[in-house]
């Protein structure tokens, strides 16, 4: 495999990132326009039919063209993927693992953001690149009522800021009471906070109305709080720094920083990611979504399959617990039943996505559930078609977390986040040969010395070539 790695970092990444990449990658190109071509492999774009012996052209970290009869520019670095399979990078829709201390002690912290806690050196990211995961929805853990604002990050980088694909991707809510709190008081407090936010929003509206006749300039601002323009601004925040129009300190009509996330949640601008630990939490979650008009995705604990009837018909995919197959004993008859989550959700017509973190992981006797592709393989084992399994690793979670315009499929205009597999996906002997993020090779199996040390522990580490 001829793999050339080229980097153009000028302006895009900061100096330290450059230093790190320089240290890690052997060849750093200096061309002004970074061009990369992947040729010869079987391309599974997720959107559209697989392309045998295809070519992907990449410029400045973005996919330019995908096809068979493409002319490779002479200045492009070429990765020969002959005999290999190229997929869009996998997307994990929910994980607190990139974070240091993912659960705040205070249960009500909607104003915090995970960007401040993402640890680029977390072992999670190394494993993610090794297993083809290129984007992850970094989100607070399940033990906090209003856990904070999540972010979608790429799995390679030196600074959390550099890795962010989408800031404020959602707000984490959990229906699991923390510590010794009862479910009654947990839910009551949750509703109280939401109601208070509603009242607060009403008072803001009133202030805006009062302000209206006096200063016509504020009119735009008043409308802004209705939703649409502000939402657009949030989308663009990452791209252009977006600090401009929330700045006027005298503006009483704008929510204060502590409540801003809650206000956006209730306006439907900030989607909720709602954790249900038990089946009994599911109807509460659905009622909350309904009562407060939230846009919400459900993260379902193992037990929630018992409420599957309530979920049937919802088109929104749910995020499942990593232990997809487990056993339950009927407390009265002592009858043991094998619960196969992918099969149950399939039968109920509820689309699923996977995650690799959760409390039940500690009971797993193999390392399988900690790998995203293994989750998909398990779903295939119990009846999910291979096409759907690959979609559930890529485009489906990308949509769920609102980044499908950037990642999740191999299409012109999308980020060049790609996985080159040594063979057919989800096979025992298939390995990730290379992972590419934003057109840069961030993982190469042949350079993975840590994995080599784990696979061939008795071999003396050879001097770096």
């Amino acid at each position: 495999m001829v793999m050339a790695t080229t980097q153009r970092l000028g302006g895009l990444r900061r100096g330290l990132a450059l230093a790190l990449v320089l240290a890690v990658l052997p060849a750093v190109g200096a061309s002004a326009q970074e061009q990369l071509a992947i040729k010869g492999g079987r391309i599974i774009p997720i959107v559209g039919e697989p392309i045998d012996d295809g070519i992907i052209l990449i410029r400045d970290g973005t996919i330019q063209a995908v096809g068979t009869d493409l002319e490779i520019p002479i200045e492009a670095r070429v990765i020969d993927a002959s005999g290999k399979v190229v997929l869009p990078g996998f997307v994990e829709p929910h994980s607190p693992e990139p974070l240091v201390q993912p659960n705040e002690v205070n249960p009500n912290v909607p104003f915090v953001t995970v960007v401040d806690a993402v640890d680029p050196n977390a072992i999670y990211f190394e494993e993610a690149r090794r297993n083809g995961v290129t984007a992850v929805h970094a989100i607070p853990g399940n033990s906090t009522m209003f856990g904070g604002k999540s972010a979608v990050v790429k799995t390679s980088g030196t600074f959390a800021e550099d890795m962010v694909l989408k800031r404020d991707a959602g707000l984490k809510l959990s229906l699991r009471p923390a510590g010794s709190t009862s479910r009654m008081s947990h839910l009551a407090r949750l509703r109280r906070e939401l109601d208070e936010t509603k009242r607060y929003m009403a008072s803001l509206d009133e202030k805006a109305k009062e302000a209206e006749p006096e200063s016509p300039d504020d009119e735009a601002e008043g409308q802004g709080s209705e939703g649409e323009p502000k939402a657009a601004q949030d989308e663009d925040e990452e791209a252009d720094g977006g600090e401009s129009d929330e700045e006027s300190p005298s503006d009483d009509a704008a929510p204060d920083a502590q409540r801003e996330a809650m206000v956006r949640l209730l306006k439907g601008e900030l989607p909720a990611f709602l954790y249900c630990e038990q089946a009994m939490d599911v109807p509460h979650a659905l009622k909350l979504i309904d009562d407060y008009g939230m846009k919400a995705t459900l993260i379902l604990g193992r037990d929630c399959h018992k409420a599957i009837g309530l979920l049937a018909g919802r088109e929104e995919p749910v995020i499942l617990d990593p232990e997809l197959v487990f056993w339950e004993t009927d407390p009265r008859t002592d009858r043991d039943d094998q619960i196969v989550l992918p099969r149950l959700y399939r039968e109920a017509g509820v689309p699923i996505t996977f995650q690799t973190s959760g409390s039940s992981l500690s009971s797993a006797s193999t390392l399988g559930p900690s790998l995203l592709w293994y989750q998909a393989a398990t779903a295939v084992k119990y009846g999910m078609p291979m096409d759907e399994a690959l979609e559930a690793l890529t485009l489906r979670p990308a949509r769920l977390i609102g980044v499908d315009s950037f990642v999740g499929s191999i299409e012109p205009g999308k980020d060049a986040d790609l996985v080159i597999l040594s063979g057919e996906p989800l096979k025992l002997g298939t390995w990730v040969d290379a992972t590419i993020i934003d057109g840069k090779v961030v993982y190469r199996r042949e350079d993975d010395t840590r994995m080599k040390a784990l696979l061939f522990p008795d071999e003396e580490p050879s001097a770096p070539e």
Partner: protein, 440 residues
């Protein structure tokens, strides 16, 4: 590889030759223990039948012919396509094609399917109620988890659904000599295969972990050993006393036991196999050293760092039963440094390897992914562990005369996407269970 096989066989032969080891000296007492165990099993049998339901009662004797896309016998050749004839719960024929005897039920699994022998787990997880060790003394060689086994435990059903049809219960490593490991089936009406398959000893820090030189004076934990050296010293002392026929040391050994040193003597004389719970490289070397001093052949159980001492293990022909590879954190139990391909490294060096600790098929799949040859990965969950437990004459491969413990798979056994279709124990399909409606 060869030498260890020979050694193992030698030990099996010896044991077989002795007709299950019960030397004259203590026959009376040990018989009473046996009787006790037997009584227990007899008492438990109806319960077991109830738990399993009518599936066990039905079709016990009729012949069954199974045709599969391929029949992996594990010890012999693989037949593709293949057929297995089951008669009276025992395998009566194996081949590329077998004519169905008159009146035989025919199970045609179809193309692409695979038939494997039932898996054998040296360290069955769960299944025992309460701690499976008597902690009042350190040397309790005669204690056996058998009476504490909950025969209707979910652990059995889980193991069965994963294709595991038999396995051993290892008493907890809290004691220097925790006791005997019985081999049992995970389903069926005859659950106990071998009541005392192997003696378990601990060469790790576990027995010392709770003992304190100073704590409440009436605590049983005011005792030795309090460190790893003490564990080894106590084991060596027990073996020494046993070999010279000394009276039991009541400080370390429970007086209720009938000649507690007898199983140790059996070990020294090569009449009983011994499983040494041992994880770090230096503990494994200690096991080898002790075995050398007393001249017996141990089997390593755990073996998380065995890859570091693959050479000595291969040279002495000592097999290794690996515990499950988990990666919740960088270290394994006792802060062992885990390697993903321990099984592959050991096999490469010529060490016999078995996988244990639940989810055997998934473990074999990962072992194969990480470097153990596929054929060996299947052996490591079937004939390998059966040999370790000394039951390879009855279990562990598809061969005429062995128990009809079989696993039917929908495809390539080592692909992650291949589900188990059914699992047969002693000629009866026990998983999946019949639907409630069909049970009546």
């Amino acid at each position: 590889m060869r030498c260890c096989k020979i050694m193992l066989e030698r030990f099996q032969d010896r044991r077989a030759g002795q007709g299950l080891p019960l030397p004259e000296s203590s026959r009376t007492m040990s018989r009473s223990l046996h009787l006790r165990i037997r009584a227990w099993v007899a008492a438990a049998a109806p319960l077991v039948l109830l738990a399993v339901g009518p599936a066990a009662a039905a079709g016990d004797d009729g012949d069954v012919l199974i045709r599969a896309g391929s029949v992996v016998t594990v010890e012999g050749e693989t037949f593709a396509p293949g057929a297995v004839l089951v008669s009276g719960g025992v395998i009566a024929g194996v081949g590329a094609s077998i004519e169905a005897p008159e009146g035989a039920e025919v199970l045609d699994l179809g193309e692409g399917t695979t038939l494997l022998p039932g898996f054998v787990d040296v360290d069955l997880p769960g299944g025992v109620t309460g701690p499976s060790v008597e902690v009042t003394r350190e040397i309790t060689p005669r204690f056996n988890p058998l009476p504490a086994i909950d025969w209707s435990s979910r652990s059995f059903v889980e193991a069965l659904a994963g294709g595991t049809t038999a396995g051993a219960f290892i008493p907890l490593s809290e004691n220097v000599v925790p006791g005997m490991a019985p081999v049992v089936k995970t389903a069926g009406s005859r659950r106990v295969v071998e009541a005392e398959a192997a003696l378990v000893v601990t060469v790790a820090s576990d027995p010392a972990s709770r003992n304190r030189s100073r704590t409440r004076p009436d605590s049983i934990y005011v005792r030795q050993p309090t460190n790893r050296m003490g564990v080894v010293a106590m084991l060596r002392e027990a073996l020494n006393r046993a070999s010279r026929g000394a009276e039991p040391d009541l400080d370390t050994t429970l007086p209720v036991e009938a000649d507690p040193y007898e199983p140790l003597r059996d070990v020294i004389q090569g009449r009983r196999s011994v499983l040494a719970i041992s994880r770090t490289d230096y503990d494994i070397l200690t096991v080898l050293r002790l075995a050398g001093e007393f001249g017996y052949a141990p089997i390593i159980l755990g073996g998380q760092e065995a890859y570091k001492v693959a050479g000595p293990l291969a040279a002495t022909g000592v097999p290794v039963v690996l515990g499950p590879l988990r990666i919740n954190g960088p270290y394994g139990p006792e802060r062992t440094e885990l390697a993903w391909n321990t099984a592959g490294v050991l096999h490469e060096a010529g060490v016999a390897v078995a996988l244990s600790g639940g989810d055997l098929l998934e473990q074999a799949r990962f072992a194969a992914r990480f470097g153990l040859p596929e054929e060996e990965a299947l052996k490591a969950i079937t004939i390998g562990p059966a040999r370790v437990l000394g039951v390879a004459d009855r279990l562990g491969s598809i061969a005429v005369g062995k128990a009809a413990d079989l696993v039917a798979l929908e495809g390539d056994p080592l692909e992650f996407t291949t589900p188990v279709r059914w699992v047969m124990v002693d000629g009866v399909v026990q998983f999946p269970r019949p639907k409630p409606s069909e049970e009546d």
